[in-house]
Amino acid sequence: MKKKSRLRRGLGLLRHYGWKKDLLAIGAAFLCCTILSWITSKMTGIRGISTFDLSAAAMPFFGFVLGIWGIIGFLLHYAIEAAQLFVLMSDTSFTFSIGTYVLATIGVALYCSLPSVLWYMFPLKGEEEASYPRLDTSSHVIKYYLISVITIIVYLAYTVLSSGFGFADNLQEILLMVAALFTQYLDTVLVVGIPLLIIVSVIRNRTITINERMVLAFLIIGVLASSIAGYMIYRNSIELKPGMFDAYESMMKMSADEWPENAEKLIEDYDTYWNLFSLMMAVMLNILLFVEVLFMRSIEKKVTRPIVHLSNVLTDYADQDESGFDPEEVRSQCRPYRYGYGEVSDLTRTCVDMVGEIDTYTKNLQSITAEKERIGTELDIASGIQHDMLPGIFPPFPDRREIDLYASMTPAKEVGGDFYDFYFVDENHLALAIADVSGKGVPAALFMVISKTLLKNQALSGGSPREVLTLVNHQLCLNNTSLMFCTVWLGVLDMTTGKLVAANAGHEYPVIRRNGGRFEMMHERHDPPLGLKDGLRYHEYELQLSPGDCLFEYTDGVTEAMNAEEKLFGDERLTEALNLTQESNPEILINSLYGSIRDYVKEAPQFDDITMLCVRYNGKEEKHGETKTARLTVPAGLDHLSEVMDFAQEQLESAGCGAEDMFSITLAVEEIFVNIASYAYDGKEGDAEITFSFNEEDRVVEMVFSDSGFPFDPTSRPQPKLQSDPGKRPVGGLGIHIVRQTMDKVNYDYLAGRNILTIRKHI
C-alpha cells in the first residue's frame, strides 16, 4: 500500500490542481523546454555533435516540480522537435522511422519520471515520507545527486540498447560517446537543475535555507572556475591547431556535400575540445559539490541539528501547561549538546539555565498567587462584614411617617473608610451620622469600625452632638499612634418639632432644601476631624426643619469624583444635580445624583468611596382618635376583582360609609386594581397588596395599593381631553381620571421596588 502510494506521488498522479492549472503547468513546462532548446541552438555547434540539449536538465526538474503535467509538457515539446527534425532530414539519406521515434519518446518519458519516482519511493532515514523535492539539507543534496546519476545512467543505457548500437562502429567509440554524454548530462543537471529547484523551493517556502545558499555559492564558484579553465583550453586549442574553430564554423554553414576533406578530423578535434571542457566542468563541479556536502554535514551536525533539537525541546516545554513543567526533562534532552565548546553549547547551557530559573520563578509565582488569592478572599469577607455593618434596609422605619430616609455607600476599593449611620436615640430623637476615615484599605476599615461603634455608643447614651464628638475624639486620640483621623457630621433630629441639632468635625458641608426652595450648601461652623488632637471642644448648631424639607449629606467621594480629564465633580455640580428635579423622595434623589456622577466621570475609575445620606422631614404625624387598618394581598388578576371589591365594601360598611362615598370609593378601588391586574406585571404573575385604614376622629379613609410590577406613575398621565368627541378618545386613562376627580387625594410613590398608590377620601 505504502509503496503504491509513494509510486503515485512519484509519478505526480496525486497532483491534480484542477484542469485549468494542470493545463497551465503543461504549457509552462512546454514553454520552458522550448526556450532552453532555443538557447542551446544558439550555442555554437553544441547540437552538432550529440543529442545533447539544455532542456535535458529540465526533464527531471519538471517531473519533480510539476509531476505528470510537467512530463506531458516536455513530451509535447519533444514531439514538435522530432517532427521538425523529421522534416529537416526528409530530403537527406538519414532514415528516421516512426519506430525510432516511439522508442526515443519512451526513453524521454522514463528520463522525466524516474527522478521523481526515486525521490518519493526512497525517503531518507528519519523521514516518514519523502518531502517535496528540496535541497534544504546536505542529505537531500546527496540524494538529488545520486538520483541524477542513476537516471542518466539508466537513460543512456536505454538509449544505447534501443538504438541497437547503430550509431557507432566499435565499442571504444560507443564508450567514448556515452562517457561524453554522461558528463554533459551531469553538468546540466547540476548547473541548470539545482538553481531551478532552489528557485521553486524559495517560491514555495518563502525562505532559503543555509544549505541552499551554500549549494548555490559552490555552484557559482564551480561554473566560474570551469569557465576560466574552458577559456584556457580554448586558447590552448587555438595555439595547437590554429584556425580550427573558424574552419569548423564555416563548415557548419555549408551543406554536407561541400564539406572539405579534413571534415572528419575537424569534427573530431572539435568534439575533443567540448568533451574535454564538459569533463573538466563535471570534475570540478563534483569536487565542489563533495566539498559543500562535507562542509554542510559538519555544520548540520555541529550547529543546525542541535539548534533544531533545542528549538523543539523548548517548544514542547513552552506548550506544556503549568502542571507539566519539568526542567529535568529539558536538561536530559539537552545533555548531548550541553557539554562541549562553541556557541551552540553555550546557547544550550543558557537555555537550560533559563528553564531552571523559569521553573523557580513559576513556583514562587504560584505561591504568591495563592497568597494573593487568600488575601483577596479575606478582603472580600471583610468587605462583606463592613457592608453589613451599615444599615441597609429601606425604608428603615416604615412606621415613622415623620421622616423618609435613604442612604447608600459605593466602595472604591475592597474595603473603605466611609460610613453612614442612623438610629433612634429615644422615642422622639433620630441620630444621623456620616463619616469618612483618612486613608484606604484595611487600616481605614479598622478605624471606621472603632469610630462607628464609639459614635453610636456615645450617641445612644444620650449626649448632644457636641458632647458626643468631644468624647469620641478623646477616645480616638488614646493610643492613636498611626495618626488616623475621621471626619464626622452628626445630627440629632427632633421628630415632633423638626429641630435639628448638629455638629461637624471637619466633614463636608450639608446641602439642604427648605420651604420648597432649592438645595443649597450650608456653610456651618467646622471643627477639626476626630482623632487628631486630644482635648478639643466641639461646637453644635441648631436648625429648624419644616415639613417637606430635605437634608443631604455626603462624603468627599461625591464632590471629588474625577472624570477622565481629572476635573472634580465639585460643590456646584452637586447642588445643580440635586436641583435638577423637584423630587423630594430621598431614594430618588440619591439615585438620580449617583446617575449624574456616573454620567460625569464616565469610564474613569472611582478613586474614593461614594457615600450619601438623605432625609426628608414630613412633619409630626397627626394622630387623633383611633385608626383602624386592614390588609388584603391577592394575586394581581382580574379573577380576583370580586374579592377586592368585597374587601373594600366590607371595610367601608364597617366604617359607616354612606352610599354616595361607597359608590365613588369602590369605583376607585376597581379602577386602580384593574389597572394593576392588567398592566403592572405585563402578563406575568405578581401580587397586589391593598391596605385600608380609617381614622375615626377625622373620618378619613386611606387606601394604599402596592405592587412590585413595572414602575408606572398613573398620576403622571395627561388628563383625557373631555371636550373632544368621546368616541375618538383613547380607551385608557378614563379610570384613573375618575379616581383623581372623585378622591380627595391621590399620591404615587415608587419605593424599594414597589409602586405605591395612595388614595384618601373624607367620608
Partner: protein, 99 residues
C-alpha cells in the same frame, strides 16, 4: 348583572339590573351587539343600575358609536344620581342622551 330586552319594531329597550363593572361590561357589550340588527332606537333603562365603572363607560361609548354609525339614536333612562355624577366627571354627559 341581568338584562331584559323588549323589542318594539325598530326600537329596542334594554333594562339593565345590577352592577356594570370590569367583569360584567363585556357581557353588556355582547348583548347589545347581538340584538342590534334592525334597531334604530336603543333605550337603555338604568333604573336598577347601581354601579358603573370605566369599563362600563367604554361600553356605552362603543354602543353610542354603533348607533351613530347607523344613523340611529341611543337614550339612557332613569340613571341614578351617582351614575349621572360619573357621566359628568368624565364628560360623557355631553355625548350621551340622558332622560
Amino acid at each position: 348583572m341581568t338584562i331584559e330586552q323588549k323589542r318594539d319594531g325598530q326600537s329596542l329597550t334594554m333594562a339593565v339590573k345590577g352592577r356594570i363593572d370590569t367583569l360584567t361590561a363585556p357581557e353588556l357589550k355582547t348583548q347589545i351587539e347581538g340584538a342590534l340588527d334592525g334597531v334604530m332606537d336603543l333605550v337603555l333603562d338604568f333604573a336598577e343600575v347601581d354601579y358603573i365603572s370605566s369599563a362600563g363607560l367604554r361600553t356605552l361609548m362603543t354602543a353610542q358609536n354603533w348607533m351613530d354609525a347607523r344613523g340611529g339614536s341611543m337614550v339612557i333612562r332613569n340613571a341614578s344620581g351617582n351614575i349621572v355624577g360619573i357621566f359628568k366627571v368624565t364628560g360623557l354627559d355631553s355625548f350621551l342622551a340622558l332622560e
